[in-house]
């Protein structure tokens, strides 16, 4: 469903990713771990389509309507409408833009794209409340401007709420666990687990193993110096937690 092939990426003149290969099927959970500066967040941003990153080689193949498409040719919003979602490491504050207005606009873009009828504010409110309920979120999340004056944990929960509303086929969660206390982590992880199913896939990008106790991956990949240097099952994460990254070559 989703395949990264020999991906090389530069920021300015600096090469960050030097040939990433990764294949993800529906229903799978993949984790990418790696030390600081290994290129984890770059990978997430390139998948989402951030304009500051230059892809010098390779492609990202994604299945849209049973056709394989290189998403590097698509604008960020086109990727998003096709079901590619990224939860930000640092969710952006947008003053003056009400969260529920924003979410409805995003949701209706997908409706439009799929040729479905757009949802009116009343129906959307009901839809949104159901999603909020299972993420244990209260009204303040949607009555306030997007992420403004949210705590770190609230911002991350808001990302998962957006994931729930947009119902993506592949979700890239970029350090969703960073800055979370243990309770917030549980809520976020429970949310992700509830959203997980046979049709969708999740790519977790994390620095720490602890998130993987809550969201259990099928595969763990170690990213170092812009390359995936090892891919194994979930046990690899524990090993890294114990020994660090240096023993891997």
């Amino acid at each position: 469903m989703f395949e990264i092939r020999d991906l090389h990426v530069k920021v300015g003149r600096t090469p960050i990713l030097k040939g990433i290969n990764l294949s993800i099927n529906p229903g799978e959970v993949h984790a990418i771990m790696g030390p600081n500066g290994s290129g984890k967040s770059t990978l997430a941003k390139v998948i989402a389509g951030h304009p500051d990153y230059e892809v010098t080689k390779g492609e990202i193949i994604y299945e849209i309507n049973f056709k394989k498409v290189n998403i590097l040719d698509l604008e960020p919003e086109e990727r998003a409408r096709e079901g590619i979602f990224m939860a930000f490491q640092y969710p952006v504050e947008i003053p003056g833009v009400n969260t529920s207005v924003f979410l409805r606009a995003a949701f209706n873009e997908i409706c439009k794209h799929q040729g479905a009828e757009e949802m009116d504010p009343i129906d959307f409110d009901e839809y949104l409340r159901k999603k909020m309920e299972f993420l244990e979120m209260d009204d303040k999340f949607i009555t306030r401007p997007v992420n403004v004056d949210f705590s770190g944990g609230e911002k991350k929960r808001n990302e998962i709420l957006q994931m729930a509303v947009l119902n993506p086929r592949i979700s890239v969660l970029d350090e969703t666990d960073s800055g979370l206390d243990i309770d917030s982590m549980r809520i976020v992880a429970d949310g992700v687990n509830k959203l997980k199913n046979k049709e969708n896939a999740i790519l977790l990008i994390t620095h720490y193993q602890r998130l993987l106790n809550h969201i259990v991956p099928d595969f763990v990949h170690i990213l170092r110096h812009g390359r995936i240097i090892r891919s194994e099952g979930k046990e690899l994460a524990l090993e890294v937690e114990e020994k660090g990254y240096d023993w891997l070559s």
Partner: protein
């Protein structure tokens, strides 16, 4: 610039008006002739050239008919108390003179001079015409669309009083000179919206508006001036506010129309404990030019003034902000805040902004500043990753830029009207 100005000034000073009133017109006429139209050599007009205005010859309106009656009916609401001028002439048909609540008097200045001469005279002669106010002199000479709103002591009105100045095509190169006097009595509270509007963008005319507001002790006035003139029109407007002790002026200016706008707002804080708020939004695109000047004069101690002027500029639009705050030597414990924020969306737009403070007292709290920025790239990317395309994201962020400002307008009827008036400039965003 105005055809037959002298003749018109004289004909307006007929036998019915008191001699002091005719003298005011004559004085305005001669002062305007002396001063002439300001040029960019004048410091107050440095960034706003009036050459395009000066080359036209305008006629003072003589008949008022609205060609877009439906649009006018849509803009006015039956829930409000409407006072409507069409091309400078009072329209009985669209106004609600039979519906004025107890405690509020609305009449033409001409009628008010008969019933309330001493007060009107005092108010019309409160300010001397200084050197930089040629357009005030011009208005004084030939104002026609003149209305007087008096709010009695302790009166309060839940309904919005909406004074609408609509200009409609039909006559070529009209000049309209609205003159509004608002006197809010002790401990009264009212909300007034003054709209300068056209329902067509394709005809040239000139509005030269003057509004004077007097707030007695402890009076509160929520006042909004909204301007959405034709995109070929010239709008020059001056609002002066005189505040007595403990009074509260809650002001908002909205400027979205006309080819060239100059909007002056002068506040005189003349009684201790007075508060004043001057918020504004200007939103311009293509070749529009909007110039806002404010002046807040803290003459006594313990007053506060808060101003936030926000602008959105697109395409080749230009804007000017000049805000002066004076704190006189005795005005200790003054608290004053002034900020001008600009969002530049076009590649060729330009803002000249100049917040100014002149403080002659030593125990005061005053801040001022200006910002000029573009849409934040990270906000744009965030919205795009949430399926929202660039154009819609731009609009959403521009709305976000004004939302906190609009939320300071407590009256929902005003907010709804401004939202509608603002829509065309948002539609133009790419």
């Amino acid at each position: 610039m105005i055809r037959d100005l002298e003749k018109i000034t004289k004909s307006l000073s007929n036998e019915e008006s008191p001699s002091w009133f005719s003298d005011l017109r004559a004085q305005g006429f001669s002062r305007f002739n002396e001063l002439g139209i300001p040029t960019v050599k004048d410091e107050e007009w440095k960034y706003t050239s009036l050459l395009a205005l000066a080359k036209h010859a305008f006629d003072i309106a003589k008949a008022g008919q609205c060609a877009e009656a439906e649009a006018l009916k849509n803009y006015r609401s039956d829930k409000d108390i409407n006072i409507v001028f069409i091309n400078g002439l009072l329209s009985e048909e669209f106004s609600d003179f039979n519906n004025i609540p107890i405690g509020i008097t609305v009449s033409t200045i001409r009628d008010a001079m008969i019933s309330n001469a001493p007060q009107i005279r005092e108010q019309l002669t409160k300010y001397a015409i200084s050197d930089d106010t040629a357009f005030i002199a011009l208005n004084q000479a030939v104002h026609d669309a003149s209305i007087y709103v008096q709010i009695d002591e302790k009166a309060s009105c839940n309904k919005l009083i909406h004074i609408i100045h609509v200009t409609s095509p039909g006559h070529k190169n009209l000049a309209v000179m609205p003159r509004t006097l608002i006197a809010a009595g002790r401990s009264s509270e009212t909300t007034i919206l003054e709209s300068h509007i056209a329902f067509s963008d394709t005809f040239t005319y000139f509005t030269n508006a003057l509004t004077d507001i007097f707030l007695s002790e402890n009076a509160t006035l929520h006042y909004c001036k909204s301007q959405k003139e034709s995109l070929k029109a010239f709008h020059i407007g001056h609002t002066r506010v005189w505040q007595d002790r403990d009074s509260n002026f809650d002001g908002f200016s909205f400027m979205a129309g006309s080819k060239l706008t100059r909007n002056d707002l002068d506040i005189t804080l003349n009684g201790e404990g007075a508060n004043t708020t001057l918020n504004a939004l200007y939103s311009v695109y293509n070749d529009q030019h909007v110039d806002n000047h404010t002046s807040v004069d803290h003459r006594v101690p313990n007053c506060t003034s808060n101003q936030l002027y926000k602008g959105i500029l697109n395409n080749r639009a230009r804007a000017v902000f000049n805000g002066k705050v004076f704190v006189q030597p005795i005005a200790q414990k003054t608290s004053s805040y002034q900020l001008n924020k600009n969002l530049l969306l076009g590649t060729d737009c330009r803002i000249d902004t100049k917040p100014q403070l002149e403080i002659f007292a030593d125990d005061v709290k005053c801040t001022h500043g200006a910002t000029i920025g573009q849409l934040a790239k990270d906000e744009m990317f965030y919205l795009q990753t949430r399926c929202i395309p660039k154009k819609a994201a731009t609009r959403m962020l521009a709305h976000g830029f004004v939302n906190d400002l609009f939320s300071t307008i407590k009256n929902t009827a005003i907010r709804e009207k401004l939202d509608r008036l603002m829509e065309p400039s948002f539609e133009a965003l790419q």
